[in-house]
Amino acid sequence: MNSKNSQELKNDLFYLIAYLITSARGLLDEPAEYGIYRLMDTTGRLLEIMEANQLMDDPFLQDLKNRISEEMAGSMDSQRQREKLDELLEMVSAEMSQRL
């Protein structure tokens, strides 16, 4: 990674840190369910940062990013959310097993 890319990465991570602190503060006043969105959004943002900094050479993570992006665009429905998260975790755990 050259120094320009490294600076971009640091910049992206700086904003992610600001996002995490803001989310932590916000959750003191917001419904507990919003925590789920913040964690999923953080996952999506991390994957976005990896992609923007040419660190996304893993098809599994690319697929995961697309799925999370679709999920985040959907309406807030806790039943659907439960099913989708279980589905994502099934996918992730199968991948983890393969990588052992």
């Binding site: 600001a18 996002y19 803001t22 985040m72 665009a73």
Partner: protein, 170 residues
């Protein structure tokens, strides 16, 4: 698109393409917001529009409710010096006023083939710092706009028999 079509087909958009919103379309959205009714015609609102990518990146960091990567953001603020009418309309009316602004802007964006989402999850003090807001200009809502990349299905709504009664409650 007629008005009822727009009302019933609008969705909250939280995923956007990289398509940039034109100045003309942004101007139309702003004018639609400014056309909203307000208590005593006080028009207590101030709109700050943001289109620079760097600024939007910073806004996304302090507005966790903002999904996707919008290409335009409008902060809906209240000028507290205008929030009370000469006849003394109460300040709480400003929330209703901003509700009208929000809906007008979202419907205007929808009509233009764009999408948007209202965001209330943000840190007001950080937003005020980023937008250089003086003390009497308070941010209340942030609207994120862009070209939709995913349009969600209609969310479940309560049946009318649960929320609407004729002549009297029950």
């Amino acid at each position: 698109m007629d008005t009822l079509d727009a009302i019933f087909s609008r969705r909250s958009i939280r995923s956007f393409t990289s398509y940039s919103i034109s100045e003309t379309n942004l101007d139309t959205i702003i004018r639609a917001g400014a056309a909203a009714p307000s208590g005593g015609n006080a028009q207590p609102w101030v709109f700050i529009s943001i289109m620079q990518a760097r600024r939007i990146q910073a806004l996304r960091a302090i507005a966790p409710g903002m999904g996707g990567q919008p290409t335009a953001v409008i902060a809906l603020c209240v000028d507290e010096s205008r929030a009370s009418t000469p006849t003394g309309s109460p300040v709480f009316l400003t929330c209703y006023d901003l509700g009208g602004v929000m809906q007008n802007m979202l419907l205007a964006a929808h009509e233009l083939g764009l999408g948007g989402c209202a965001v209330a999850s943000f840190h007001a003090q950080s937003l005020a710092t980023l937008l250089n807001l003086p003390g009497h200009i308070k941010p209340h809502l942030v609207l994120a706009f862009g070209k939709p990349s995913v349009v969600p299905a209609a969310p479940p709504k309560r049946g009318l028999d649960e929320i609407h009664f004729r002549e009297k409650y029950g």
